[in-house]
């Protein structure tokens, strides 16, 4: 059964205050139509879990600029002066997480683990308030798993069932986030008949995907 849905109805499922994981790295691999529709519907008080907030006019940065975001959990906001301004002014909460730790926290959330042990951040401000665990002579931090209400995913190609392929560096956090959210919404550049994507090429299996939206195409 096809999972292709209307953009407006799909995004309407997301309530104000929802926790969103959004794929992408500096906007590459961030679903543009889903971001656009979140803005159009005027969502508020979102928590966004993502690698970065890109730039003020790009990708997730557009949500920050529109004051749609209450809290950001990210590894990097250095390329977005507006996120930094809102954080310093106390308008938006920002939790900075080392990038590899963020990836593993999301992965743990999707893989049924409570968290991960990582040496990254030991002895730095990242350690504050976290359990330190020594195993076989190495010190690790216990970093808790992350989950979200919705994951907004950008894929290169989907079939109508929701099997997904990604492209190059636009893959980044997308397959991890597609595992870690209650509802998974995918914006695909192409949506093809079932069977076109060979099983070995599927990165995200269709059972994880709830809704598919096609990336905008210009015809004619």
């Amino acid at each position: 059964m096809s999972k292709v849905r209307k953009l407006e109805e799909t995004v309407a499922m997301i309530p104000d205050g929802a926790v969103l994981m959004i794929g992408g790295f500096m906007g590459v691999g961030t679903p543009p139509r889903l971001i656009e529709e979140l803005l159009r519907q005027g969502k508020r008080d979102l928590t966004v879990i993502a690698n970065d907030t890109a730039r003020p006019t790009v990708g997730i940065g557009r949500l920050v600029s529109a004051k749609a975001v209450r809290k950001v959990i990210a590894s990097h906001i250095g390329t977005n002066s507006e996120t930094q301004r809102q954080m310093i002014a106390g308008e938006t909460m920002v939790e900075l997480v080392p990038q590899g730790t963020l990836a593993e926290r999301v992965r743990a959330g999707g893989f049924g683990l409570g968290g991960v042990l990582t040496p990254t951040g030991v002895g730095t401000v990242v350690e504050d308030g976290k359990p330190r665990i020594e195993l076989d002579g190495t010190v690790y931090l216990l970093e808790k798993a992350l989950k979200a209400d919705f994951a907004l995913i950008a894929a290169k190609r989907a079939d109508y069932l929701g099997n997904l392929e990604y492209a190059l560096t636009a893959r980044n956090f997308n397959p991890l986030m597609a595992m870690a959210a209650g509802t998974v919404i995918v914006e695909a550049e192409d949506i093809v008949p079932v069977g076109v994507i060979p099983p070995d090429s599927v990165v995200t299996p269709n059972v994880l995907v709830d809704c598919l939206v096609a990336k905008e195409h210009r015809h004619g």
């Binding site: 790295f25 500096m26 906007g27 590459v28 691999g29 690698n51 970065d52 890109a54 730039r55 990210a74 590894s75 990097h76 906001i77 250095g78 390329t79 930094q84 954080m87 310093i88 900075l96 080392p98 990038q99 590899g100 730790t101 963020l102 990836a103 593993e104 992965r107 990582t118 040496p119 990254t120 951040g121 030991v122 002895g123 730095t124 401000v125 990242v126 290169k156 990604y166 492209a167 190059l168 560096t169 636009a170 893959r171 980044n172 956090f173 997308n174 397959p175 991890l176 990165v203």
Partner: protein
């Protein structure tokens, strides 16, 4: 030769054929253009690729292929792309031979601070903490001082990137190796004296009897 090119050329001499190498944004990125002849390495970008290369020609950009700063890149034949967990598995899991990063401060214990200036600049650590914690070899490439203020200091005042001791510091004045005993002055830049280096360093330096000039023609 300007100072940044000097640093990039000296760092490039540290790379060996077949290495997997991650270059930070900014000055470290310049290292790729100065590899010695015959030294082929694979460059990793933490957004998920091994085998990054410059965009082959104007117009050949691909919107799905960028570096960690979001700028378009190319890829060498034999490149591989993957998700962020794999990318940091390569970094943290001991599969990355060399990481080259910029620095704000390095201290006598060889500890690097390079991700924030409290109250002024809070960009976030991105991949830096994982890179410094996990790479087999960490090379800091930076100016020796910032507007006259030494960046090599007794103890970092800025928040640390990692407590791991970095392996080498390459600046426009010197090559310095952090060791168990402290910071050892290994080389000076062409035209720079040991006294010049000491005058612009805020930490104790161990100066061997023989300090050669950087082997850069």
């Amino acid at each position: 030769m300007d100072e940044k090119t000097l640093i990039a050329r000296r760092v490039a001499l540290e790379l060996r054929a077949g290495n997997l190498v991650n270059l930070g944004i900014g000055l470290p990125t310049m290292v790729a253009a100065h590899l010695p002849a015959g030294v082929d390495v694979f460059f990793q970008s933490e957004n998920g690729i091994v085998g990054m290369a410059p965009v082959p020609e104007p117009g050949a950009e691909n919107e799905d292929l960028s570096d960690a700063g979001g700028s378009p890149i190319g890829a060498v034949p034999g490149a591989a792309s993957f998700d962020s967990a794999m990318s940091f598995g390569l970094i943290r899991g001991g599969h990355l031979d060399v990481t080259v990063l910029g620095g704000l401060q390095v201290d006598e214990e060889g500890r690097l601070a390079n991700w924030m200036v409290p109250g002024k600049m809070v960009p976030g650590m991105g991949g830096a903490m994982d890179l410094v914690s996990g790479a087999k070899r960490v090379i800091v490439a930076m100016q020796h001082s910032a507007k006259g203020t030494p960046k090599i200091v007794k103890r970092c005042e800025l928040p640390l990137t990692s407590v791991r001791r970095v392996d080498l510091i390459v600046t426009d004045l010197a090559v310095i190796e952090p060791t168990d005993k402290g910071l050892v002055l290994r080389e000076t830049a062409p035209g720079v004296t040991v006294a010049d280096v000491l005058a612009q360093t805020g930490a104790e330096l161990i100066v061997p009897a023989d300090v050669p000039v950087m082997p850069i023609g």
